[in-house]
């Protein structure tokens, strides 16, 4: 079994109002010195069998089409041990 983690973040130039709201809440709860908060998404894919090159390429393709919108988001793929 293989595990692939896809992290999706808004591109730096895209305003993240949710991150801003969290930043405000952190300050209100006493955490000082927070200069920025960005909120993203993490997808954990549990895959049966081994992760060969073809399947990894498929994951990349879907990470860039379904899981993220390349107009506003970047993604990073990590393989981790299941």
């Amino acid at each position: 079994m293989a595990r692939v983690v896809v992290d999706v973040m808004l591109k730096p130039e895209i305003l993240d109002p949710q991150g801003k709201a969290v930043e405000g809440a952190l300050g209100r709860l006493g955490l000082t010195g927070v200069s920025a908060v960005r909120q993203g998404k993490t997808f954990t894919l549990e895959l049966d069998g081994d992760l060969d090159e073809a399947r990894l390429a498929q994951v990349h393709e879907l990470a860039g089409s379904l899981l993220s919108n390349p107009v506003i988001e970047d993604y990073v793929i990590r393989e981790t041990s299941a």
Binding site: L15, P17, Q18, A21, L66, N69, I72
Partner: protein, 224 residues
């Protein structure tokens, strides 16, 4: 003239869109998300709502619905398509229109009667208006902020593809007050506000929205 209205799981405004088509004098044809067939319609409306619960991103899952395959091909071939609100988000996710819709900059869901200025009448859906005409139609969205890179925004402005702009107040942080855009050919239009809710005096703030539906019907009649 037969105008298809697609229903996705979670579509809300499909009935109002169909009613607007009928009030404008057209025949509304219900299209189903799981049916990869446009049933020979002359144009399509992608209605507002929360397709697939807005999960993942607004419109991101609807984009891969079976009906979208033939729809994208037909739109690229010139079929008139109007995406309203969630429909606009689906058109952007499908890359039929550039840019994306993101969460409102103030984080609140907004519902108000919104003043717009029609900026382009060179589209299949706005030919009944005058350039510069001001209209009031309902607006209701949580993720209606239109974003695109500066180059794309300049291209849209330069080619006259900004179809409508917010007046008086920018309700969601949209870049350059953009409320709606078209593709280069003008057959595909995406609009965040809801013209289908402003087609008769009993239920709408105005009847200003009717022009989108009379535009397409007039255009189709003239073309036939």
């Amino acid at each position: 003239m037969r105008i298809g209205v697609v229903t996705f799981p979670g579509s809300l405004d499909d009935q109002d869109a169909a009613r607007a088509v009928r009030i404008a004098g057209g025949e509304a044809v219900a299209l189903w998300h799981g049916d990869a067939d446009l049933h020979g319609v002359d144009a399509v409306v992608l209605p507002g709502g929360f397709s697939y619960g807005d999960y993942l991103r607004c419109g991101a899952i609807a984009r891969f619905a079976p009906v979208m395959g033939p729809l994208v091909d037909a739109a690229n071939g010139g079929l008139p398509v109007l995406g309203i609100c969630n429909g606009f988000q689906v058109l952007c996710e499908s890359h039929l229109l550039p840019g994306a819709l993101v969460r409102n900059d103030h984080l609140h869901f907004i519902c108000r009667d919104q003043k717009l200025r029609i900026e382009s009448t060179d589209t299949a859906w706005t030919s009944s208006y005058e350039v510069g005409q001001e209209i009031v139609v309902p607006l209701k969205n949580g993720e209606g902020g239109y974003v695109a890179d500066e180059k794309t925004l300049d291209l849209l402005e330069g080619q006259g593809r900004v179809v409508a702009r917010y007046l008086d107040l920018n309700p969601n942080g949209s870049r350059r007050d953009i409320a709606g855009i078209s593709n280069a050919r003008g057959n595909v239009v995406g609009l965040m506000p809801h013209p289908e809710h402003a087609v008769e005096a009993l239920t709408g703030p105005t009847t200003d929205g009717l022009g989108f539906f009379t535009s397409i019907l007039k255009g189709l009649v003239e073309a036939s």
